[in-house]
Symmetry: C2
Subunit: 322 residues, 2 copies
């Protein structure tokens, strides 16, 4: 490992989309940057005390889930029925163990639920009420439905409902116009970490799409699509148009391009996000990733991605735009 | 394309597992072989009349779902709650479009539901009641709960419940001992097809695991894990220990090994099933696959896999054991 680097690394994201300076007031921009910084520091504290990559990913995502600005946990968008159905996934690059939940309601921190599935279940992905029952059996904290909503999300929901009433179709773009400070099409949070033991981990959490119907499952809770970690190659957390990420098995493909074609992490991430995905959807999203060594990679084909990472000297870096 | 071949190709499977001659009476063996043959012929009829690969996959899987011998549609295993929660996925190798459902109850042919999602939704994967609502909106046929059960599945369920009561844990192996004629650990059906236009398609359908709890989602409905099709490389349908197939993104990995390392379909399938998966679980399952040309490939690390395929002369071949 390069001795100029801290012995650990961490990066997080808070979603990608058509985030442009004119969409954010200066005050809101500061709020977002502070949110990212605090989430990063929550993970850094774990790593600098020789904690595990899994613990750091968990801590950073719990912070982002608790922050109402991001579409995960508190601040999750409303479903068509006016509730909150959340997804999360976590994966340990050392063991390839993973856990995930989809469509859970009332679980305060879905990433904790995913971790419980990883640690205390023979399964990887649990859905809906069954997943909630599992969480209860493991004493994963729940919160009342009102905890998750915010006035801003309610306004998005009302607008989406009205649009839907008129349009009577379910196109993704229609419900997600920019201008709310979040490029809210791809609201997701995620983290990737490398600990002092050299182990990698990745996690992703999301409240899904505003006004989503029919129990839609995106890429976030799917190992190999939105989330993947393998000590042999990389840890990846994605954010974007979930269907495009599922079709292209984005997170696993970064790993495959590194392992089979010998690409660097940066080249592999660029190949997938900037070349392959552009064929389906030129503004489909992005990812953060970490390799066995070196700094985090951030690649996105959208106008912006909320993101933060530790510099080689352990410093905090937060960015929103390209 | 090799002119010795029919201009189309088709293969199906009915699950893999510890299927040994001593587990099947001669009468039951004939029933299984007849079931496979008829499903294959249902798909062949489509292909020889210049139908599409997607239609052939759909037709073969509908037949397997309707046959009570296989764990999909009618004949699906019982969940812990005594119901049937089914998963299915279909993918079009020409367009990379796909559709899938998980945890649906009462849908007579889950593969039809998956196809409706592919054709008439902006999404790929729909779960639970939301998926059922979508099916109703698309007039996908439903059947009463009693339609799906069989006396044999009920006996498996009762035994699993009793074991569970004693063991109070949720290990996968405990509920699935061999001896029921199905190596029932990995009850799944699937099909891969190449049509006269050179397009590939793949589909998979399953009733899941006997006594399954907590809304567990296996690999079958996950694009890139249990099902994948891409005209650039191959069409793949898997059957096995779902969690191992998700972790290894098996179906996509076959594609990646072909595209990035230049492996043949057969070598890629062997690399994944016989080498990689063996590290996690030496008897984890198998797959059927088709390339842009040539005959189907069948690879499994279990004692048996119910399977059938068209020979180069269009003949029907059915096998159970290695």
């Amino acid at each position: 490992m390069n001795t100029n680097l801290t012995p650990y690394a961490l990066a997080i994201h808070g979603g990608a989309g058509t985030i442009l300076p004119q969409h954010l007031t200066p005050e809101l921009e500061i709020e977002y940057l502070n949110g990212l910084k605090n989430a990063l520091l929550a993970g850094k504290t774990i790593l600098e005390n020789n904690g595990t990559a899994i613990d750091a990913v968990n801590a950073a995502i719990v912070w982002l889930e608790d922050c109402p600005l991001f579409n995960a946990g508190k601040g999750s968008v409303y479903t068509h029925e006016g509730g909150h159905e959340m997804d999360a996934c976590i994966m340990d690059g050392a063991t390839l163990a993973s856990g995930a939940v989809t469509g859970v309601q009332g679980v305060r921190n879905p990433i904790r639920a995913a971790r419980e599935v990883m640690l205390h279940s023979d399964h990887i992905l649990l859905a809906g009420k069954g997943a909630e029952d599992f969480c209860k059996s493991r004493k994963v904290p729940f919160a009342p439905e009102g905890y998750f909503g915010t006035a801003f999300r309610m306004s998005q929901y009302r607008e989406a409902l009205m649009t839907d009433t008129i349009a009577l179709d379910h196109s993704i773009t229609k419900f997600n116009k920019p201008g709310f400070g979040e490029g809210n099409k791809f609201g997701t949070v995620g983290a990737v970490a490398r600990d002092v033991f050299g182990n990698l981990a990745a996690g992703t959490s999301t409240g899904g799409m505003t006004n989503k119907k029919y129990g839609r499952v995106g890429d976030s809770p799917i190992v190999g699509a939105g989330t993947y970690a393998n000590n042999d190659s990389c840890a990846v957390s994605c954010t974007g148009h979930g269907e495009v990420f599922i079709t292209n098995a984005v997170a696993f493909d970064v790993h495959a391009l590194m392992n089979y074609k010998g690409l660097s992490l940066e080249d592999a991430a660029n190949e997938v996000i900037m070349k392959k995905l552009a064929k389906s959807d030129p503004e489909s999203g992005g990812l953060i990733a970490l390799g066995k060594e070196g700094q985090p990679v951030q690649v996105f084909n959208t106008a912006g991605m909320y993101r933060a990472w530790l510099g080689v000297d352990g410093s905090v870096n937060c960015r929103i735009y390209q």
